[in-house]
Amino acid sequence: MSNLLSINDLTLDQALGILRTAAELEKLTEGGAKKLPTLRGFTIVNLFYEDSTRTRISFESAAKRLSADVINFSAKGSSVSKGESLKDTAQTLQAMGADAVIIRHGSSGAAARLASSGWIKASVINAGDGTHEHPTQALLDAFTIAKRFNLLNNEGQIFVGLKVAIVGDILHSRVARSNALLLTKLGAEVTMIAPPTLMPVGVAAWGVSSDYSLDNRLAEYDVVMMLRIQSERMTDSYFPTEREYARRYGLNSERLGKMKESAILLHPGPMNRGLEISAESADAENSMVLEQVSNGVLVRMAVLYTLLGGPTMVDEVVKA
């Protein structure tokens, strides 16, 4: 494995390998306090065509904790925004000796194009491409779930028996796509919940079920993942008003009270408090939002480790 473009690039064992590596890295770095020398001398480029400070910082911290050199190549204010093509930028990064390129791009498939067009030899990691995928977000969500329910030491499909709801703008969500693929790969029973306008055509092909109502089976889910809803969806007539959306699909305190006691709440952030999630829900005890952030760094370390270090290195860490 040299790239991470889609969850489909991972076998079950590879996905578990990354999650277990993340757990080991957590121990080795004493929860992130210590740096590891593993990727000293490696150059890792953050190529961000979309503003996403959170994701960029998460990758940057991950790379630095592994002692890699990090170059931030933001599209804003650079030659990229002046019409330089992805190809030209890729070739520049190649000339700079990048070992890995972490790309965030507004176009679905941009990471795949970067990896498969022969423009660049570096490993490519998809940090979100259009409305396609965001594989490291799904890995960090899976890691958060696995830790919380203490499932990491199980064998094979570690999430068998777990019921997960993913709620919101499924149609435009790369987080939803990657999570659907990864969580079902790990054995979870996943339900997509959205108004029909925001449910993709043929969603059943993802191996998930779907529901237009959040209330139907709310008490059954072990994990409820709320997606960010963008207000421009309203102007495009996907739903009538923010108020109606919040009423029908928002996780308010009343719905929070109907969830299983052991259930957890995930949100990839940034949250629209009062829209898809109420302030009480966001700050509730079973909200894992902050854990998601810290787990994000660990999982991204594990991904860099796996892609750049190779399998033997990972085995060593896992055994350590």
Binding site: S85, S108, G109, A110, R113, T131, R174, W206
Partner: protein, 432 residues
């Protein structure tokens, strides 16, 4: 002008003949013909067909000469066995005045390799608001008969009605690019499971079918002729079949790529497969093949859409829509339709030559009859070969068929009795 005989050649019905031509006109066809010709083209192993006629060609001149010119497009056309092409109006400036269509017409004459018939825009600047000067284009030296805003749909039903009515006075034809713009905002590929998985905005079949249904009803209401460009869905075939059963005056075209390729090719995000209307499902491909074989779809048209390399060498959403098609059209149609047993060679001649010539009123095209201009294509039906887009004569090489092994190859093209293509190579000769 040299007199030429093509000896020992087969016709589409399989019979062996020789074809003689003098002064650019076919003078003799038969098993035994006279022998005093200046030049003999040995036709052994080859099949002679009337030159192909394309009703949908983007030649890009004026405005996008880095992608194609009328000259390079003509060269590409004859390499594909075409002796007539129809230059779409979405150039820059738009072909919406007599001046622009006459310029394109004149460039075609200067190239002298095949006939270049300009298509006029329906609306001024392709803006879909006001009619362009259709009458002026019809009476110009270019004698335009087909009008199209191709690239854009005439979505305003009132403008469409007026256009259909207006062209009746000079027997014009409106060719509609059927795509409801509101149902295809930002659309990138066929809407379905694959678009959902790839996260690409969907181009639903209904956006094509709803416009076709509306325009068929309008054409019936005003008793005018309608031509549907690049039909791409099974539902469209059904609607057109219904219209024809009611005797409504509608004709339809299908592109070679929609007869052979499906949306499954898009999973790697290679923009070489980005085209409008998009590649559809296998079920659609099968319906289109059936429709072409049974006469619901009248003709094949290439929608040859050349683009410079940088417009495809990028991420999917940034890439241009369109594929080159002139030089692969015959091989694709032969492979998909004739070799597969779905239709005969006679039907291939009908859909690639006779019917388009008849629909557009291109006199002298689409016929091997004695007295017709000698527009003849010689093809080798026994040849299987890998497509090499780099060897194409088009200025652009955005062919989705590159590397595919196809059957049936164009060898020679004669235009007004001038051999402009011999053994797959331009001779340098032209008709003046």
């Amino acid at each position: 002008m040299k007199s030429i005989v093509i000896s020992d050649v087969k016709l589409s019905d399989g019979s062996s003949v020789s074809i003689g031509m003098r002064d650019g006109v076919i003078t003799e066809i038969g098993a035994q013909i006279s022998s005093d010709y200046d030049e003999t083209i040995l036709g052994t192993g080859l099949t002679a067909l009337p030159g192909f006629v394309d009703l949908h060609t983007h030649l890009r001149e004026p405005g996008k000469e880095d992608a194609e010119t009328v000259l390079t497009g003509s060269q590409s056309a004859v390499a594909g066995g075409f002796t007539a092409v129809s230059a779409m109006a979405n150039t820059n400036p738009v072909a919406d005045t007599a001046g622009v269509v006459e310029q394109v017409f004149r460039l075609g004459k200067e190239a002298g390799l095949c006939e270049v018939f300009p298509i006029g825009a329906v609306s001024k600047g392709l803006m879909g608001e006001q009619l362009a000067e259709l009458g002026a284009m019809a009476t110009s030296a270019a004698a335009v008969r087909i009008f199209s805003d191709d690239g854009k749909c005439i979505s305003d039903p009132l403008l469409m009605r007026r256009a259909l009515e207006y062209v009746k006075s000079f027997n014009g034809l409106i060719a509609q690019h059927a795509q409801d713009p509101r149902l295809t905002v930002n659309a990138q590929m066929n809407e379905g499971e694959i678009s959902s998985t790839l996260g690409l905005a969907g181009w639903p079949a209904v956006a094509e079918e709803s416009i076709i249904a509306r325009d068929i009803l309008l054409a019936d209401h005003v008793q005018s002729r309608l031509h549907i460009c690049h039909v791409s869905t099974a539902g469209s075939v059904e609607i057109i079949r219904w219209a024809k059963s009611r005797g409504i005056s509608v004709t339809a075209e299908v592109t070679p790529h929609h007869l052979l390729l499906t949306e499954d090719l898009i999973t790697g995000y290679d923009p070489i497969y980005k085209v409008n209307p998009p590649l559809r499902s296998q079920r659609d491909v099968e319906a289109l093949r059936t429709g072409l074989a049974d006469g619901t779809i009248d003709i094949v048209a290439t929608d040859h859409a050349p683009h410079p390399r940088e417009d495809k060498d990028c991420e999917w959403a940034a890439a241009a829509f369109g594929m080159t098609g002139l030089e692969t059209a015959f091989s694709v149609v032969f492979t998909a339709m004739v070799k597969s047993g779905l239709m005969s060679m006679e039907r291939l001649v009908e859909v690639m030559s006779t019917a388009p010539a008849r629909i557009a009123g291109y006199i002298g095209q689409g016929s091997l009859a004695i007295g017709s201009p000698a527009h003849i294509t010689l093809v080798d039906l026994a040849s299987d070969y890998p497509v090499n887009a780099r060897s194409h004569l088009s200025k652009s090489s955005n062919s989705p068929f590159n590397g595919l092994v196809l059957s049936g190859r164009v060898r020679d093209t004669l235009f007004h009795g001038v051999a402009v293509l011999r053994n797959g190579t331009l001779t340098g000769e032209r008709f003046a």
